[in-house]
Amino acid sequence: MSVPVSWYLALSAVLFGIGAIGALTRRNGISIFLSIEVMLNAANLSLAAYARQFGEHTGQVIVFFVLAVAAAEAAVGLALFIGVFRGRRTIDVNRMNLMQH
C-alpha cells in the first residue's frame, strides 16, 4: 500500500514542533542549534512531500538550497560560539546577558 503524502506532512509538522520546543527550552547554545537543525529537516521533509504531490522538481531544488544555507548557518554560528566561549568560558545562553547590564 502506498503512503499518502499527507502522512509525510503530518510527520514534518510534529518534527517541527519537537524542534521548536527544544529551541525554546534548552540553555546550551549548541543544543539550541541542534533543535534548529531538526526544524530545518522538518521543513525539508514537507518540501520534498509537496514535490512528490505535484510531481515537480521545484520543492527538491528548494531543499537543496536549504541544505546549503544550513551548512553556512552552522559554520558561522559555531564560530560565533567559539568566539563567545573564548571570552566568557560558557555557551549557556542565560549567561550571555551583556546587553542587560
Binding site: M1, V3, P4, V5, S6, L9, A10, S12, A13, V14, L15, F16, G17, I18, G19, A20, I21, L24, T25, R26, R27, I30, S31, F33, L34, S35, E37, V38, N41, N44, L45, A48, A51, R52, Q53, G55, E56, H57, T58, Q60, V61, V63, F64, F65, L67, A68, V69, A70, A71, A72, E73, A74, A75, L78, A79, F81, I82, G83, F85, D92
Partner: protein, 174 residues
C-alpha cells in the same frame, strides 16, 4: 511494504528527535540527530528524491554534524548546562510547540482532504537526476550562484570569527 518502511523510519525519526531535544549531554544529542537525519533521508527516498537523500547523508551527517562534534570537543562543554528556566517558561514552550504542531497538522490535513486529486504515481521524471539538474542549472541558475557566494561569505566570516585575536604587541620592542 512502503507503509512498513514509512512507519518504521517515521517512528525512528520521532524518537531520535525527542532524544535530541531532551538529552542533557550535547554529544549524545548530536549522535541522536544523526539517526534523525538518516531516517529523514530514507523518507526522501520514499518520496522519490534519492539525490536529496544522498545530499542529506553527505552534507548533514558527513559535514555539519562532524563540525558540531568538533566544536563540542574543542570547547569541552560536556554537561555544562545551567539550571533550566522557570517552570512557567518550560510549560509555555511545551504548550506553544504542541499547539503549533497541531495547527500545522490540521492545516496539512485540511488541505490534502480538499478537492485536489491524490498524488500521481511516482513518475520516472521526478526521480530522474538529469531532470533535476536541468531544473537546477536552468531555471534556478542565478539562485544557485547566489548560494555559492553565500557559502564563500560564510567561510570567510567563520574564519574571521573563530580566529584567535592577535596578541597585543608591546610598544617598545627591544
Amino acid at each position: 511494504m512502503e507503509l512498513a518502511i514509512f512507519i518504521l523510519f517515521a517512528g525512528l525519526a520521532l524518537v531520535s528527535s525527542i532524544v535530541v531535544v531532551t538529552h542533557k549531554n550535547p554529544v549524545y544529542a548530536t549522535l541522536s540527530l544523526v539517526l534523525t537525519l538518516f531516517s529523514v533521508a530514507v523518507l526522501f527516498v520514499l518520496l522519490g528524491a534519492p539525490f536529496l537523500a544522498a545530499l542529506q547523508i553527505l552534507i548533514y551527517a558527513g559535514a555539519i554534524l562532524v563540525l558540531f562534534l568538533f566544536v563540542l570537543m574543542l570547547l569541552n562543554v560536556g554537561r555544562q548546562e545551567g539550571p533550566s528556566g522557570h517552570r512557567v517558561q518550560l510549560f509555555t514552550a511545551l504548550l506553544g510547540g504542541v499547539a503549533f504542531a497541531a495547527m500545522l497538522v490540521l492545516l496539512f490535513w485540511r488541505q490534502q482532504g480538499g478537492p485536489r486529486p491524490p498524488a500521481a504515481p511516482l513518475s520516472a521524471q521526478l526521480v530522474s537526476l538529469t531532470a533535476l539538474a536541468q531544473e537546477l542549472f536552468g531555471r534556478y541558475l542565478l539562485q544557485f550562484e547566489i548560494v555559492g557566494l553565500l557559502l564563500l561569505v560564510a567561510v570567510v566570516g567563520a574564519t574571521v570569527l573563530a580566529r584567535r585575536p592577535p596578541p597585543r604587541e608591546p610598544e617598545a620592542e627591544p
